[in-house]
C-alpha cells in the first residue's frame, strides 16, 4: 500500500487565513444556529401539545425557516472550517468570503421577510407547483421573495466553490490532482494532496453542479409564479431540487470534517496519511454523492426504476468511505494514543460517532422496501438530525473551541459538556427514529395523543442540547477579542 505523507506549503505559517472573516462566519453560524434550534424547540413543543399556536400556518413558516436556515448555517460554518485549514495549502482570495457573506445576509433577510411577514411556508423543498398553488396560504410575491433569497444564498456558496476550485487548480495542477489521482492511478509521490485538499476538492466537484441545479430550479419556479402558463415538469424539477439539497447538505459535512483531519494529528502526534485507500475512498464518495440523490424519490413511482435501484445500492456503498476510512482512521489515531480527553478531543470523537452512526438509519431509509413505510415519517428527520446534530455540529464546535484556545491543542479542562451534549443529542434523535417506527408523519403540526410521548421526551432533550450549544458558542464568543488580536 503506497503511502505518502502530504506536507503543507512551506510558507503555511504565513498563509492568509482571513481570520476576521472566519470569525464573522462563526459568530453568524453560532447566533443563527441558536435561533434555528429555538425554532426547532418551538415545533417540538407544539407537537407535544405543550404549546398552542394562534394559526397552524405559523408552524409551517417556522418549519420552512428552520430547515432553510439550518442548511444555510451548515454551509456557512463548513466554509469557515474548510477555508481556515485549506489556506495553509493554497492561496485563497478572501474577497470570495465577503461576497458570500453579503449574499448570505441578503438571502436571510429576504427569507425571513418572505416567511414570517409574508407568510410563505412551503418548506425548504419548495416543491413545484406548491409555491404558486398555496391554496390561499400565501401570495405569489412571498414565494418569489423566498426563492430569490434562497438563490442569493446559493450563489454565494457557488462563489466560494469556484474560488476554492480555482485555488486548488492553481496550487495542485487540476481538480484530478486535488483528488490525488496522480498518486492513486499513476503511483506518483510528488505533490501529494493532504486530506484537507482532497476533501475540499471533492466539495468543489459535487457542490458546483448541485448549486447550478438548485439555481436552475430557483429561477424556473419564480418564472412559473410570474407566468403561470409556463409550466414545468414536476418530476424534472423535483429531481433538480433533491440533487441540489441532498448534495449541499452532504457537502457541508465534507467541508467540516477537515477539522478532524487537521486536529487529530496535532493532538495525538500521529499523522493522517494520504494513502491510496484514502484517495480511493474520496474518489468513490465524489462519484456516489452525485448519483445517490434518487433515494429521496423512491416513492415517486414515475421515476425510472434503474435510478431508484442506484439510489438504494449506491447509498449503501456510499457509507463505506465514511465508515471504513474516515471513521476507522479517526479511531485508529485516537486508540491508545494517551490523549487526555478534554472538550476539544471529545467533540471530535463525538463528531465521528455521530457521522458514522447517522449513516446507519440513513442507509436503512434508502432501502426501497423500508422507504415504502418510512418515507416522510419522523425517521427521515431522525437520520439527518443524527449526522448533523451529532456529526457536523460537534465538528464546528470543536473548531470554535480550537480558535478560542488560540489554536493551541494542549489539553485543558474536562469534557463533561461534550458528554452531556451527546446524551441529549442521542435522546433527541432517538425520539425522531422512534416516531418513524410508529409511522408518525414528519410534517404534521398537530400530533395524535399516542405520538406525544416521543415529542415530549424530544422537547426536553432539545432544551438540553440548546443549553449546551449556548455554552459552546459562548466560550467562542468570549474569546473573540483574543482571536482577533492574534490574527
Amino acid at each position: 500500500m503506497a503511502e505518502a505523507l502530504a506536507q503543507g506549503r512551506p510558507d503555511a505559517a504565513a498563509a492568509d487565513r482571513a481570520t476576521p472573516w472566519v470569525v464573522i462566519y462563526l459568530v453568524t453560524t453560532g447566533v443563527v444556529l441558536l435561533l434555528m434550534m429555538l425554532l426547532g424547540l418551538l415545533m417540538r413543543l407544539v407537537q407535544s401539545g405543550w404549546l398552542a399556536l394562534d394559526h397552524p400556518a405559523l408552524f409551517y413558516q417556522i418549519m420552512t425557516v428552520h430547515g432553510t436556515g439550518m442548511v444555510g448555517i451548515a454551509a456557512l460554518g463548513g466554509v469557515a472550517v474548510m477555508w481556515h485549514f485549506l489556506a495553509s495549502y493554497v492561496t485563497l482570495h478572501r474577497a470570495a468570503l465577503g461576497i458570500n457573506f453579503v449574499l448570505f445576509l441578503i438571502g436571510v433577510v429576504a427569507i425571513l421577510w418572505a416567511d414570517f411577514i409574508s407568510g410563505f411556508g412551503g418548506a425548504w423543498t419548495f416543491l413545484y407547483p406548491l409555491p404558486a398553488l398555496s391554496g390561499g396560504a400565501w401570495e405569489s410575491g412571498s414565494a418569489a421573495l423566498h426563492l430569490w433569497g434562497l438563490l442569493a444564498v446559493g450563489v454565494g456558496v457557488l462563489v466560494i466553490c469556484l474560488e476554492v476550485g480555482r485555488a486548488i487548480i492553481v496550487g495542485y495542477g487540476g481538480l484530478g490532482r486535488g483528488l490525488g489521482w496522480h498518486v492513486l492511478f499513476a503511483g506518483s509521490t510528488q505533490n501529494v494532496p493532504p486530506p484537507t485538499v482532497v476533501a475540499s476538492t471533492m466539495v468543489v466537484i459535487v457542490t458546483t453542479p448541485a448549486l447550478i441545479a438548485g439555481a436552475a430550479s430557483l429561477v424556473m419556479s419564480p418564472v412559473n409564479l410570474y407566468f403561470p402558463d409556463v409550466a414545468i415538469n414536476p418530476l424534472m424539477i423535483k429531481n433538480l431540487i433533491y440533487f441540489f439539497g441532498h448534495t449541499i447538505i452532504n457537502a457541508t459535512i465534507y467541508m467540516a470534517v477537515v477539522v478532524v483531519y487537521e486536529l487529530l494529528p496535532r493532538i495525538t502526534g500521529r499523522p493522517w496519511k494520504t494513502t491510496k485507500v484514502f484517495l480511493a475512498a474520496w474518489t468513490l464518495s465524489t462519484t456516489m454523492v452525485l448519483v445517490i440523490y434518487p433515494h429521496h424519490l423512491m416513492m415517486d413511482f414515475a421515476m425510472p426504476t434503474w435510478a431508484l435501484v442506484i439510489g438504494q445500492v449506491f447509498s449503501y456503498m456510499n457509507a463505506f468511505p465514511v465508515l471504513v476510512v474516515t471513521g476507522l482512521g479517526a479511531l485508529a489515531i485516537l486508540n491508545r494514543s494517551g490523549v487526555r480527553w478534554d472538550l476539544l478531543v471529545t467533540l471530535l470523537l463525538i463528531s465521528m460517532f455521530g457521522w458514522m452512526a447517522g449513516v446507519i438509519p440513513a442507509v436503512v431509509d434508502a432501502t426501497i422496501a423500508v422507504n415504502s413505510v418510512m418515507h416522510n415519517t419522523m425517521w427521515v428527520p431522525g437520520h439527518f438530525h443524527f449526522y448533523l446534530l451529532l456529526g457536523l455540529l460537534p465538528m464546528i464546535f470543536a473548531f470554535m473551541i480550537y480558535l478560542a484556545r488560540g489554536e493551541d491543542v494542549a489539553p485543558r479542562g474536562g469534557d463533561m459538556a461534550a458528554v452531556l451534549y451527546l446524551i441529549f443529542g442521542l435522546t433527541f434523535t432517538g425520539m425522531f427514529l422512534l416516531g418513524g417506527w410508529a409511522s408518525v408523519p414528519r410534517r404534521w403540526a398537530v400530533h395524535l395523543s399516542e405520538w406525544m410521548v416521543y415529542d415530549r421526551i424530544a422537547t426536553i432533550a432539545a432544551a438540553g442540547v440548546i443549553v449546551l450549544t449556548t455554552i459552546f458558542i459562548a466560550m467562542f464568543l468570549a474569546r473573540i477579542p483574543r482571536i482577533l488580536r492574534g490574527a
Binding site: 397552524p56 408552524f59 416513492m299 426504476t305 494517551g338 436503512v364
Partner: protein, 162 residues
C-alpha cells in the same frame, strides 16, 4: 415483525455496536503507544470490515430489491382511482376485498401529495407520492380485513390532506 420494527431493531443494534467501539477507545488508558502497531491492527480490522460490507452487506442490499413496489398491476387486481387535492383525497371506491391485490391509480389535481395507507393501529402499510401530471400506480394486498385510512405525510400547504 413489521418492516418498521425490523428497521428500528437493526439500526439501534448497529448504533449500539458502534457506540461500544467508540466507548472502548474513549476508555482505553493508552500511554502514547507507538502508532505503527496500532495502525497495523487498524488496517487489518479495516480490511475485514470492508470485505464484510461487500460480501455480506451488498448481497443483502441487492436481495432486498426483490421487495420493490414498482411492479405493474397484478392481473385481476381491484382498481381504486385516488385523486389528491388541497386538502382531501377522493377515492372512487372505498371498499375492496381483503387478500386480493388492489391497484391505486394515484393522481393530483394541484400540488404534490402523499398517499399513505394506515391500518387501524395507525401503522403505515404502503405509500406513494402523488404528482400533478402523473399517475403513480401503487399495488398493495390487504391481508387483514379492517378499516384503513389514507393520510398525507407530505406538505401541501398548511393543512393536511386526509
Amino acid at each position: 415483525m413489521t418492516v418498521q420494527t425490523q428497521s428500528l431493531l437493526f439500526s439501534f443494534a448497529a448504533i449500539l455496536v458502534l457506540a461500544v467501539v467508540f466507548l472502548r477507545v474513549r476508555l482505553q488508558r493508552g500511554d502514547g503507544e507507538d502508532y505503527g502497531p496500532v495502525q497495523g491492527r487498524a488496517y487489518r480490522i479495516r480490511a475485514v470490515f470492508f470485505w464484510v460490507l461487500i460480501l455480506v452487506g451488498l448481497p443483502i442490499s441487492l436481495w432486498l430489491l426483490r421487495a420493490m413496489p414498482y411492479a405493474s398491476a397484478a392481473a385481476g387486481a381491484q382498481v381504486v382511482n385516488a385523486t389528491g387535492a388541497q386538502w382531501y383525497w377522493d377515492l372512487d371506491r372505498e371498499e375492496v376485498e381483503a387478500g386480493k391485490p388492489v391497484t391505486f391509480n394515484v393522481a393530483s389535481t394541484d400540488v404534490n401529495h402523499g398517499f399513505g395507507v394506515y391500518d387501524a393501529n395507525g401503522q403505515l402499510v404502503a405509500q406513494v407520492q402523488a404528482m400533478p401530471g402523473y399517475i403513480n400506480r401503487l399495488t398493495h394486498t390487504f391481508d387483514a380485513p379492517g378499516t384503513y385510512r389514507v393520510l398525507c405525510p407530505n406538505i401541501a400547504g398548511w393543512r393536511i390532506t386526509t
